[in-house]
Every structure is written in structure tokens, then in C-alpha cells.
């Protein structure tokens, strides 16, 4: 199913390949199926420790399963978390789109930048789900997009998914997963791991990739800071130049004063660029890191599924031996045992099916992931380069405009 996704507010982090049409005028006559979502209007609610942000989630669609062409609901961060957890449970093997971090400290400060970044990330999250050919079918998605607030609240408080666990528990689980994976990487023999060299390579790749990306993201963040600092120091320098100019007077004084004014102008420009850099370069890198972490969670799921399958296979073998024994001794427990055996066989086949499904899905997902990331990063790089180039040109123009007067003074 071709899905046409458009972005109203999340302008540049569009992970999807194409989008067209405006969300203001859904093509009612067109037979093109579309599901487009906007996460908008963040509003701070509550007080003190209880404070949280609510978002207006606007869905526009012509999917038959949905209640109508447009629906607006109010959602908060934990609702998004609920959706993510449900999808993770149901769609094993799929790389679930990542959520922005649940910040505990920044929440209190609620800076405009933080709010906007989060809103943007949530918008992208939900649209990525909407454009994933499997995930977009999810009933939980429909619930998320359409249910009233009370229902949502009820569902939210019921959830005890893997991500709902306390951070400490989560850390423990991840650590165990990591040890298991790294054990394999290190070549330690553990009976319950896949011996799939390609898959090993993939796991390796994912773990190393996270390291590289984290480093890149760190530097990108620092770069944002540098822009702010340069802006600040230019502003201070400009002020000092103006004061010095007031002392000097005449042509020199005017020259200093002009320089000061230009410096202050450029300072503002730099602050703007810092913001752009944060939104369009650092955030995509962060998003990339989160995506890789989501893959790690899927890797853990696969490991679980594999282990489960192996355990059942082991159990079945034992049961077979037992059954044969019983049959040989013509025990009256044979019937029972045969029944158990059949059940186990079914379970085992189910487990194998599930595992193989995960493998199949993951193989598709990894292709999609690489494609998507090339797109995402391509856009981010483009924005970055464009931004830097524009900034530098502005700077060059600003300084150059001072030259004619300066040269006149000196001649």
C-alpha cells in the first residue's frame, strides 16, 4: 500500500521518501490512501512536579478503518510511550521508531527549545509509524489516534510493557542482553545463541555504530554551543568597539561604531544559526542514535525468541525420549505423554515460526533502515551545509559592507 505522508510542522526530519499534497485539503476525490498526522500546539499543564505537556494530535486519513477524514485528540508523552510499547510487543522484528528521551530534569525547565524539539520528534515518531506498511495497520495506532482522553488514560495506566519497567530493571535487562551478545562477539560458546555469521556481523555493526554516532552527536551539540558562544562574544566585542569609538570620535569613531553595530547584527545571526543547527543537524543525529538503540531492543527480542525456540526444542527432545521409553514399556501414561508431546510440538512449531518471522522481518527492516538513514542523514547534511554556507555568506557580506568607508578613511 502506498502511503502518502506529509509533514505540516516537522519540516526537515521527514524520514519518508515522498510526500505531497497539503494537509489542509485532503484529496477526498483521490483514491490514493493517506494517513497523515500532526503533533501540534504543546501546552504546559499541571503544576510543579506534576507538570506535563499535552499535544494536539490531528489525524487526517481516508483509511476505511478510521472514524472519519479528520480527528483531533489530546495526548501526552506517556501516551506515545504506551503506543511504542504496544507496537514493540505486537510487531516483533520490526524496528519500532524511536521516541525522544523521557527527560526528568529538563522537564522542569521546559525551555522553548526543549518543547519544540520534543514536539518535532513526536511528530516524526507517529508519522513513521503511519508510513510503515505493517505498523500502520495497528489497532493500537487507531486507538492512539482516535480514543478519547479517558480511555487513553485507562489504557496508559494498565500497561506493563518492557519499557514500563523501572529504569534500573531496564538497565539490568539490557545489560544481560548485551553480555549475551558480546559473549557471542567474543566467541564464548553459549548454547543458546544463533550461530549465524551474518547476523553476528550485524549485531557487531549495530553496537559499534551506536558508539560512533554518539560521538558525532556529542560534537554536533558542542558545535551548537560554539555558535552561541561566538555570537555572544561578537556581541560583547561590538559593544566594546562602540564605546571605544565614542572615545575616539571623528572618522575613526564612526568606523568603530559601524564595526560595533555589524558585530551585534552578526551576533543575532549566529544565535539563529545555532538554533537551526540544533533542530536540523544535532537532532537528526540524536534521532539516529535512538533508532540504533531501538534496533538493539529488537535484537534482544530476537535473542529471546531464539532462546525460547531452543528451550522448547530441548524440551521436545527429552519428551520424545520419554515417550519412546513409555511406548516401549507400554505404560498407560503413553496417552497423556502423547498429548503433551503434541501440544509441545505445536508450541515449538509456533516458537520456531515466531523466531523465523522475526528473522524475516528484521532482514526487511535492515534494508529499510539503511535506506531511510541515508535519506535522513542526506537531508540533515544538506541542511547543515546550506546553513553553514548561508551563515558564512551573511558574515562575509556584513564585513565587506564596512570596507568602502574604511578604505575612504585610509586614503
Amino acid at each position: 500500500m502506498i502511503t502518502v505522508v506529509n509533514y505540516q510542522s516537522a519540516t526537515l526530519l521527514s524520514p519518508q521518501r515522498s510526500s505531497s499534497g497539503s494537509s489542509h485539503s485532503p484529496r477526498s476525490s483521490s483514491s490514493q490512501p493517506y494517513l497523515s498526522i500532526s503533533v501540534t500546539e504543546p501546552v504546559k499543564l499541571g503544576n510543579g512536579v506534576q507538570a506535563y505537556i499535552s499535544y494536539r494530535v490531528i489525524t487526517k486519513t481516508n483509511f476505511p478503518e478510521y472514524q472519519g477524514p479528520e480527528k483531533i485528540v489530546i495526548r501526552r508523552y506517556s501516551d506515545f510511550v504506551w503506543l511504542r510499547d504496544r507496537l514493540f510487543e505486537k510487531y516483533k522484528g520490526v524496528f519500532i521508531p524511536p521516541l525522544p528521551e523521557k527527560s526528568t530534569v529538563e522537564k522542569f525547565r521546559f525551555s522553548a527549545e526543549f518543547i519544540e524539539l520534543r514536539r518535532q520528534a513526536l511528530d516524526i515518531f507517529v508519522n513513521r509509524i503511519a508510513s510503515h506498511h505493517e505498523l500502520q495497520q495497528s489497532e493500537d495506532l487507531r486507538t492512539f489516534l482516535q480514543a478519547d482522553e479517558e480511555t487513553m488514560e485507562r489504557l496508559r495506566s494498565q500497561e506493563t510493557g518492557i519499557f514500563k519497567k523501572k529504569p534500573a530493571d531496564l538497565m539490568q535487562i539490557f545489560k544481560e542482553m548485551q553480555t549475551r551478545v558480546s559473549d557471542v562477539v567474543l566467541g564464548k560458546e553459549k548454547p543458546v545463541e544463533e550461530s549465524n555469521p551474518e547476523y553476528e556481523k550485524l549485531k557487531n555493526y549495530i553496537f559499534e555504530l551506536e558508539n560512533h554516532l554518539s560521538e558525532a552527536q556529542k560534537h554536533a551539540y558542542r558545535l551548537v554551543k560554539r555558535h552561541k558562544e561566538l555570537g555572544q562574544s561578537l556581541s560583547d566585542f561590538g559593544k566594546a568597539a562602540k564605546l571605544l569609538g565614542a572615545c575616539e570620535g571623528h572618522a575613526l569613531g564612526k568606523a568603530f561604531s559601524d564595526l560595533g553595530t555589524k558585530s551585534e547584527t552578526l551576533s543575532v545571526r549566529l544565535q539563529k544559526e545555532a538554533h537551526q543547527l540544533l533542530m536540523n543537524f544535532e537532532e537528526p543525529l540524536k534521532d539516529y542514535v535512538r533508532a540504533v538503540q531501538s534496533i538493539k531492543a529488537t535484537i534482544a527480542e530476537r535473542a529471546n525468541a531464539f532462546r525460547h525456540q531452543c528451550e522448547l526444542a530441548e524440551t521436545i527432545k527429552l519428551k520424545e525420549i520419554n515417550l519412546d521409553k513409555l511406548m516401549l514399556t507400554r505404560s498407560d501414561k503413553v496417552g497423556e505423554a502423547e498429548l503433551e508431546y503434541k501440544e509441545l510440538k505445536a508450541e515449538s512449531e509456533e516458537a520456531t515460526r515466531r523466531f523465523e518471522n522475526i528473522v524475516r522481518v528484521m532482514n526487511e527492516e535492515i534494508v529499510r533502515f539503511q535506506d531511510q538513514k541515508t535519506q535522513d542523514m542526506g537531508i540533515a547534511f544538506h541542511q547543515f551545509a546550506k546553513g553553514q554556507s548561508r551563515l558564512a555568506n551573511n558574515i562575509a557580506d556584513a564585513w565587506r559592507s564596512l570596507l568602502p568607508k574604511l578604505e575612504a578613511c585610509l586614503s
Partner: protein, 570 residues
């Protein structure tokens, strides 16, 4: 120093073409500068950057294994000949960075850069301030080099304890007052202090460049080699400044300092002043040890300790009178214009200090930007390598290629930022220089006030002498036939009055002379400062614009290379 941390970059800049850069960088990923330069205090930041910009221009040269560890690397060498020996006197004027690097946006800019860069703005370690005094054809070029340890020859209780450093001071000049066109002497720091003290005495009222600090603490705390090098640089700057002062460059003191071999034949102080009343030193007399004590002439120097104690007290009393009584002193500083100028100088100093500080911050911010950009670039290079090695899908290779473009641009931009900064430091250093000059201005103004104080003191002394004489005469006239003792006293008093009158005249003349020096120097300072600051502004702006353009081009290329993504997303 900055240079040592970034050898990878700097060597790449010179030896490798841009395309080779990334392979060099890939070889040296750990060499990227994580260490932040910590600026312990304001001055050091700018000055160390000013010095280190030499290191940016050439690879670090390892000192030959058998050289004296005290031998510091040369302050500046032609960057095309990095292996020139340390004390080889190569006076090749260094090529201007602008010439080498710039692809100027218009033709005129190139010439102007040259014009700007030649006389006043040289690329060597000191920014020479003023224009050449008369014609640009006469010059004095001074170099300080080759520090060496020497032993104190006088008897000391502990043998071998008194060592000091001497520096080789080489002068090249075509001015006729000197003996020859090229000559060298060895001097120690103490000699420089002497020179400075003597100049202060001879050239009252002039803006005499301040000498380098004694740095007693630093000399104990710093590494010997670093301290010696720091001092060498400071000495060179100082002597060069002296050589550009239109009056001082012709002084006998400087000539003696630069030419006379062996021990510096300037006495460390003048408790005997054998001077012409116009303030010039009569050196031959002094050298022969002739000392003519003439009271009036002594007043041309401010009161110091020792014999002048009495005079000190008198002047102190006078100044207190001036302050407390509130009555106008006999000769007041009535020159309104001067007071105005003094106020202006004070304001200027404040704003210079502020601007100088902000300039430091700006330089630091630029440097940080360059550093972080470079680190970002390196990280992406590593990522590129990683993706290429692990690539299974073509999308990965595409991404790796995109990343490489960004990384390359980031590293290039980083280099540009660093180069820009080196220039910025050079230009904004002018602010520092003039801030330092304020010290000279203070000195000249205080010469004036102490001369005025001397005049005031003499005037009030005269008036009290006169009233004493009147009283004595009145008393003595009452005694019939005369009062031998009183009459004798009156005669003595009259003699004292005469001498004091003479001294007063001399003091007034001296005061007027200093006033005139102040005036001409202020004019010169304003003139030169205007020119230097305008040049500084122009140079700064030109640099900023030039490098911004280069950086813009680098990124425009990447934006072009990634433009496909932009089209797809809209």
C-alpha cells in the same frame, strides 16, 4: 602551544594537497586537539596566540640534539626554510599570510593588503605601531637572539652561584648616527633596565615605550627555557618600539646600548646630573666621570632619595598644601586643553582595556569553533571508514560518501577558522599595544606634574625666603649702627634667594619643555593611533570577510553535492 597539538593539520596544510589531507588525518585520528587551551590570564592568551601563529605557518622543527637547551627556537623564520639554524641571521621579510592564502574578491584588496601589511603591519612577532618617522627609507631593524648563560665575574662568596643570561642584540640600520650598518652586542636584562631608567630621565614628557617587566616570580616558577624565550620576545618587542619612536631612536642612550661592546657604560642612576639644560645627555663627560654639581641643573630631575631627601620633603609639603588648602597654587595647571586631553586619555585607556578584553574572548570563541568543527569532521571521517568497511547495502556506501563530503568540508572549515584566528590575533593585538602605551602616557604626564610641583615648591620657597629677608631687614633697621650678625644673615639669605631664583627659572624652563614634549607626543599618539586603528579595523574586517567567503565556498560545495536530498524532501 597550539601548534604542537595540531601538527597533523599544520603539516597537512603545508606539505600535502587538500585531497591528501584526509588520508593524513585518517592516519592521525588521535592527534586531534582535545586539550582545551587554558588561558590563565588575559595577556597570555593573546600573546601566546600571537607567538604561536608562527608555529601555524611551519612544521615544528626539532632542535638539533647537541644544541644548548637554552637555545630557543627562532622567533620567526621564513616558512619556506624550516631548517634554517637557530641563530642564522636571515632577515628575509616573511611573506604576508594574506598574500599566500588569499584569493581576494577584488584585485584592489590584494594591493591594499600589501600596502597595509608592509611598513606598520609586519607579520613578525611584534606589531610595529607607528609609521616610520620621516621617510620610509631609513630604518633600524633590531633582533634579539641566542640567549646564553654567563657567569658573574665579580667575587661572590659562593662560587658559581651568580649566573645570568645574556642575549645577542643585532642591529641593522642605514641611519648615519650609528657606527656602521650592522653590528651586535651582548646585553643582559639588567642592562635593559638601566637603558630604560636613563631614557626616562633624559626624555621627560615623552611617551617612552614601557620596558618588559622583571617578572621576578615567573622567573622562579616557569621552566627556564620557556621563561628565557618569553623574555627574549619581550626584549625584542621593546627595542623595536624604541627604534620606531622618532626622538628616542636617535638617543645616545640607545646608540650606546646597541653598539658599545662589553659592559654597558651607562650609569644606573644619575645622582650627578651633568646635563645640558635642554635635557640631552652629555655622554663624554659622564664617561670620563666628570661630575659638576650645579644646584640649578639638578632641578631638571625629579627628586629622588638620598641627597634629595630635603627636596622631597619640601615638595611633599607643597603638594599637600596644594591639596588641602584648596587655594590655587602659585602656578596652577591652567592648560584647560591639557586637562581635557588628560581626561580623554583616561577614558581611552578604560575603553581600550575593555575592548582588549572582549577581543580576547572573541579570539577564544573563534578558536573553540575551529576546534569543535575539526573534531566533528574527524568523527565523521571515522564513521565514513566504518560504514565503508562494514557496508552490505549500497545505501550505506552512499551515506558514507555523503558523510565524507561533510567531514572533508568540516576539516577544511576548521583549518580556515584557525587561520582566521591567527590573523585576528595579529590585528587585534594593536589594541593591546596601545593599552600598553598608556603606561608611557602616564609616565609622561607624571613627569609633567612632578616638574610643576618642583616649580610650585620653588616659588613658595622663594616667597618664604623673601618674607624672612624682609623681617630680618625690618628688625635690623631698628638697631642703630647696624646689626653685624643680622646683616650677615641677610647677605646669606640674599645669596640663597639668588640661587633659588636661578633654580626656579631652570625649573620653569624644564616644565615648559616637558609641556611641549607632552603636546607633541599627544599629537603624534593621536595621529599614529588613528592610522593604526583604522588599519587594524580594515585588516580585521578584510580577514573576517575573506575567510568567511572561503568557508562559505567549502559548504556550498557540500550543499550542492547533497542537493538531491533537498529536492526529494519537498
Amino acid at each position: 602551544m597550539m601548534g604542537s597539538e595540531n601538527q597533523g593539520f599544520e603539516e597537512a596544510h603545508i606539505d600535502a594537497s587538500r585531497e591528501e589531507m584526509e588520508s593524513l588525518v585518517l592516519d592521525d585520528p588521535s592527534n586531534n586537539s582535545n586539550g582545551t587551551k587554558s588561558f590563565s590570564h588575559h595577556r597570555s592568551a593573546m600573546s601566546s596566540l600571537a607567538d604561536s601563529h608562527h608555529l601555524l605557518s611551519r612544521p615544528m622543527v626539532a632542535a638539533p640534539a647537541d644544541s644548548d637547551p637554552l637555545l630557543a627556537p627562532p622567533s620567526f623564520r621564513d616558512f619556506r626554510n624550516p631548517n634554517v639554524a637557530a641563530d642564522n641571521s636571515s632577515y628575509i621579510e616573511p611573506p604576508s599570510y594574506a598574500d599566500v592564502i588569499f584569493s581576494p574578491f577584488d584585485e584592489n584588496a590584494v594591493h591594499e593588503i600589501d600596502g597595509v601589511d608592509s611598513p606598520g603591519r609586519s607579520s613578525d612577532s611584534s606589531v610595529s605601531l607607528s609609521r616610520s618617522p620621516s621617510s620610509s627609507s631609513d630604518y633600524i631593524k633590531i633582533t634579539v637572539s641566542n640567549p646564553q648563560k654567563e657567569q658573574e665575574t665579580s667575587n661572590s662568596l659562593v662560587p658559581g652561584s651568580n649566573t645570568y643570561i645574556t642575549y645577542l642584540i643585532t642591529t641593522r640600520t642605514n641611519i648615519t648616527g650609528f657606527n656602521g650598518s650592522e653590528f651586535s652586542v651582548r646585553r643582559r636584562f639588567k642592562d635593559v633596565v638601566t637603558l630604560s631608567d636613563r631614557l626616562a630621565e633624559s626624555y621627560r614628557g615623552f611617551f617612552i615605550p614601557p620596558r618588559p617587566d622583571k617578572n621576578l616570580v615567573e622567573s622562579q616558577v616557569m621552566q627556564k627555557q620557556e621563561f628565557v624565550e618569553q623574555r627574549r620576545v619581550a626584549l625584542e618587542k621593546y627595542l623595536r618600539r624604541l627604534a620606531t619612536h622618532p626622538v628616542i631612536r636617535k638617543s645616545d642612550e640607545l646608540k650606546v646600548f646597541l653598539q658599545v661592546q662589553g659592559k654597558l657604560p651607562l650609569p644606573t642612576s644619575t645622582d650627578v646630573a651633568s646635563r645640558m639644560l635642554d635635557g640631552a645627555v652629555k655622554l663624554p663627560k659622564q664617561l670620563f666621570g666628570e661630575s659638576v654639581v650645579v644646584a640649578p641643573e639638578e632641578v631638571v630631575q625629579p627628586a629622588k632619595g638620598g641627597r634629595d631627601l630635603l627636596r622631597l620633603f619640601k615638595e611633599l609639603r607643597q603638594s599637600v598644601t596644594n591639596d588641602w588648602v584648596g587655594s590655587k597654587p602659585p602656578v596652577a595647571e591652567e592648560d584647560k586643553e591639557f586637562l581635557e586631553k588628560k581626561g580623554r586619555m583616561h577614558d581611552l585607556e578604560q575603553q581600550l582595556s575593555n575592548a582588549s578584553q572582549q577581543a580576547e574572548s572573541l579570539v577564544k570563541a573563534q578558536q573553540d569553533m575551529g576546534e569543535t568543527m575539526g573534531e566533528l569532521g574527524l568523527t565523521f571521517i571515522k564513521l565514513t571508514k566504518f560504514e565503508n568497511e562494514e557496508a552490505i547495502f549500497n545505501s550505506q556506501r552512499v551515506r558514507a560518501a555523503d558523510m565524507k563530503n561533510v567531514a572533508t568540508a568540516a576539516v577544511k572549515a576548521s583549518r580556515f577558522y584557525r587561520e582566521l584566528n591567527a590573523h585576528t590575533v595579529k590585528h587585534l593585538d594593536t589594541l593591546h599595544e596601545y593599552l600598553g602605551l598608556m603606561l608611557s602616557v602616564h609616565g609622561a604626564f607624571s613627569d609633567r606634574s612632578s616638574a610643576l610641583l618642583t616649580v610650585q615648591t620653588l616659588i613658595s620657597e622663594l616667597s618664604s625666603l623673601h618674607s624672612r629677608a624682609e623681617k630680618l631687614e625690618a628688625a635690623s633697621s631698628k638697631i642703630f649702627g647696624g646689626d653685624k650678625s643680622r646683616i650677615r644673615k641677610i647677605e646669606e639669605l640674599k645669596e640663597t634667594i639668588r640661587v633659588t631664583e636661578d633654580a626656579k627659572h631652570v625649573a620653569i624652563r624644564e616644565y615648559e619643555r616637558i609641556k611641549e614634549n607632552n603636546r607633541t607626543e599627544l599629537e603624534r599618539l593621536d595621529r599614529e593611533r588613528h592610522a593604526d586603528f583604522l588599519n587594524m579595523l580594515k585588516g580585521f574586517v578584510l580577514n573576517q570577510a575573506g575567510y568567511a567567503e572561503k568557508i562559505a565556498n567549502v559548504w556550498a560545495k557540500v550543499a550542492e553535492e547533497t542537493s538531491a536530498y533537498a529536492r526529494e524532501s519537498t
